[in-house]
């Protein structure tokens, strides 16, 4: 697969005696949506942490878009085009929704640091329009002036999604993007993610909700106890007895 945007190779990660990730191999093709499923504590979030530079792997490498990104600081990895929605929403609780979405837009435009101390925020009408557009996409525009801390958990996640999308990342990592959302909002988020796919954005999505997984994923990897136990198209995975036993049959 030469078309791989993200290539995780032989990654190992232990926490003390706990082997959280063992010999992980993962290739995500450009423009595709790759789902990672698995029971609680399987190591799914840890895998994403390794991909964005939050945790260094004990061994192995992660390559993104031709760049070796293991060992590089998270902000550089983001600037290369990787954005992530976290399992527990990481937003700016003390800023308004609009500001929450504008901050990542500045990162995209101005890079890791820019000292624009004497220019006025009010003059950034282009970024503001873009931010409003994204808030509208995720259905939060009417609350644009509210503090982000006042949102519910599901709304925070939609906000975080808007914060990632405004950066037009090449690779979007989603850690349970619909957890805590109502059915209505979940469907809405699925639609939004489908739209993004049409624009060619590559996605890795961790999800427990099989409805979401099967309506979005092109490929699925199944992770259990730090190992990838199956990988394939949704139909292949659905049919695999090992997966049935390890995951689908048990929890759901």
């Amino acid at each position: 697969m030469n078309n791989a945007v993200l290539h995780v190779s032989e990654v190992q990660k232990s926490f003390g005696g706990l082997r959280a990730l063992t010999d992980i191999e993962l290739q995500v093709e450009k423009g595709k949506t790759h789902a990672i499923i698995g029971p609680n504590g399987a190591g799914k979030s840890t895998l994403l942490n390794v991909c964005i530079g939050r945790l260094p792997p004990d061994s192995g490498t992660v390559t993104f878009d031709g760049h070796l990104i293991t060992g590089r600081p998270p902000y550089e990895i983001n600037q290369l085009g990787v954005a992530r929605v976290f399992q527990t929403p990481e937003i700016f609780p003390d800023l308004s929704l609009l500001q929450n979405v504008m901050v990542p837009a500045f990162a995209k435009r101005d890079g890791t640091f820019r000292m624009s101390a004497l220019s006025s925020l009010e003059k950034e009408t282009d970024l503001r329009d873009e931010a409003e557009k994204l808030l509208e996409d995720v259905g939060l525009l009417q609350f644009y002036a509210k503090l982000a801390s006042s949102l519910s958990r599901g709304d925070k996640r939609r906000l975080e999604l808007a914060m990632c999308l405004i950066q037009h990342p090449k690779l979007l990592l989603l850690d349970e993007p619909t957890a805590g959302m109502s059915r209505h909002d979940t469907n809405r988020t699925i639609d939004l993610l489908k739209q993004i796919k049409e624009r060619g954005m590559t996605k890795v999505i961790i999800e427990h909700d099989m409805h979401v997984v099967f309506s979005l994923a092109d490929r699925i990897s199944v992770l259990a106890q730090g190992k990838i136990i199956a990988e394939g198209t949704p139909d292949e995975v659905r049919g695999s007895p090992r997966v049935q036993e390890a995951y689908l049959g048990g929890a759901h």
């Binding site: 000292m115 925020l121 002036a145």
Partner: protein, 412 residues
């Protein structure tokens, strides 16, 4: 009269752009509503602030504080607190060593008087430069940590500066005696231009000596400029990034920002504000001593900022003025002053009241300040500005309040 003053302070608060700091937002656009944009509000804030500061000699009269020496202290410590708050209020990093920059600014200004000229412009610039350089060093080291460790590192480094000033660096600082301007200092620039100095040596600007009212107006003018710049910083994209760092540094990193240069630059700006304040202390009284760098002075600016309201633009200035007022006016009150204040009471009651109150004035002013600080921190964590804000909301009636309440609930 006091009522009038309170009214004025209230007005200042209303035009304070950060008056609604927690709900600060970009304005809604569109033709249907045309509210004042923050840009318009900023101009009102600056004009109102300028008027209030320049009119201090009038409205401070009834409070007994309308003399230039004290008013210039208000302005100088206002600048110091304003700069401190740019760091603490925006980023949440609590520096406990800001007095180092104040002290170094004073030394640098006096050296400029000794070596170059009694003109204050080089003194101010030199002081800000030296304070800025020191801020690079201290910031570079202490910004490797955050939270309490950052505070302790800044405290330790500032105490180091203080101790150095008394020991190894005595050739530069003149140790305990303090650094002063002498008649036979070289003053190369003044010598080159043949400027003569008569009488006591004082900092001067185009021949005007900076004592009394000129001194006050100089400090006031610089305070207004400092206020304007601080406002611009708070309003800029850069200011928003700093708030974002305070709000969630993790998100900042995964959003593509490197927080280090942001933190270092604001630390330097904040240090330069302190350097400017230190220079003004030396300009209005050309003597610099190391006690200005002691940790108590660092603590004082923390108190000023928290008392007034961290993160607000005018809170720290108000806090600085209140603390300096207590230090200078309250500390001068004695039993006879109290007795005359309560002379309208029957003699025995008067004596009783005076006995009760006397521990709180004069030498005991620290006690009053401590109590005030306690009350503020417990009941108004947002400082006096929050008190003003709440009073303002209360006066505008509950109707508006409950409406925004339902807005909030709708969001949830």
């Amino acid at each position: 009269m006091v009522k009038k003053v309170i009214q004025k302070i209230r007005k200042a608060a209303i035009s304070d752009p950060d008056f609604e700091v927690s709900t600060r937002q970009l304005p809604p656009r569109g033709p249907e509503t045309k509210p004042m944009t923050p840009v318009d509000k900023d101009w009102i804030a600056i004009v109102a602030f300028t008027i209030i500061i320049l009119a201090m000699p009038w409205w401070l009269q009834p409070l007994g504080a309308a003399y230039p020496d004290l008013m210039q202290k208000f302005a100088i410590y206002g600048i110091f607190a304003l700069g401190f708050n740019l760091l603490f209020g925006l980023t949440g990093y609590l520096s406990f060593g800001h007095a180092a920059f104040l002290g170094v600014g004073s030394y640098a200004a006096v050296w400029s008087f000794k070596l170059f000229t009694m003109n204050i412009i080089p003194a101010v610039l030199f002081a800000m430069l030296v304070a800025g350089v020191l801020a690079v060093v201290i910031g570079f080291i202490s910004l490797r940590r955050s939270g309490i460790y950052f505070s302790i590192l800044t405290l330790a480094l500032a105490q180091m500066c203080y101790n150095l000033a008394y020991s190894v660096l005595t050739p530069i600082t003149n140790g305990e005696t303090g650094l002063r301007v002498l008649r036979d200092d070289p003053r190369y620039l003044d010598a080159a231009f043949g400027t003569e100095h008569q009488g006591v040596l004082l900092g001067s600007l185009f021949g005007e000596r900076m004592v009394g009212y000129p001194g006050f107006y100089l400090c006031a003018a610089l305070l207004i400029i400092a206020f304007y710049i601080a406002l611009r910083i708070m309003r800029s994209p850069y200011g928003m990034m700093l708030r974002a760092i305070k709000s969630n540094q993790n998100r900042m990193i995964y959003t593509g920002f490197n927080p280090r240069p942001y933190m270092l630059t604001i630390f330097i700006i904040s240090g330069m504000y302190a350097g400017l304040a230190g220079a003004l202390l030396a300009i209005t009284d050309p003597l610099a001593g190391a006690e200005r760098m002691q940790w108590t002075a660092s603590g004082e600016v923390v108190l000023m900022t928290i008392l007034g309201g961290a993160g607000t633009i005018s809170g720290p200035i108000l806090g600085a003025a209140i603390i300096k007022y207590f230090e200078n006016i309250f500390s001068a009150l004695n039993d006879s002053a109290l007795a005359s204040a309560f002379s309208f009471l029957p003699h025995s009651v008067q004596e009783f009241v005076v006995t009760i109150l006397s521990p709180f004035v004069g030498e005991g002013w620290h006690l009053t300040l401590g109590l005030l600080f306690m009350v503020i921190v417990i009941f108004l964590p947002g400082g006096i500005m929050e008190g003003i804000r709440r009073t303002y909301r209360f006066l505008r009636g509950h109707g508006r309040g409950s409406k925004s309440q339902t807005d909030l609930q709708a969001a949830e």
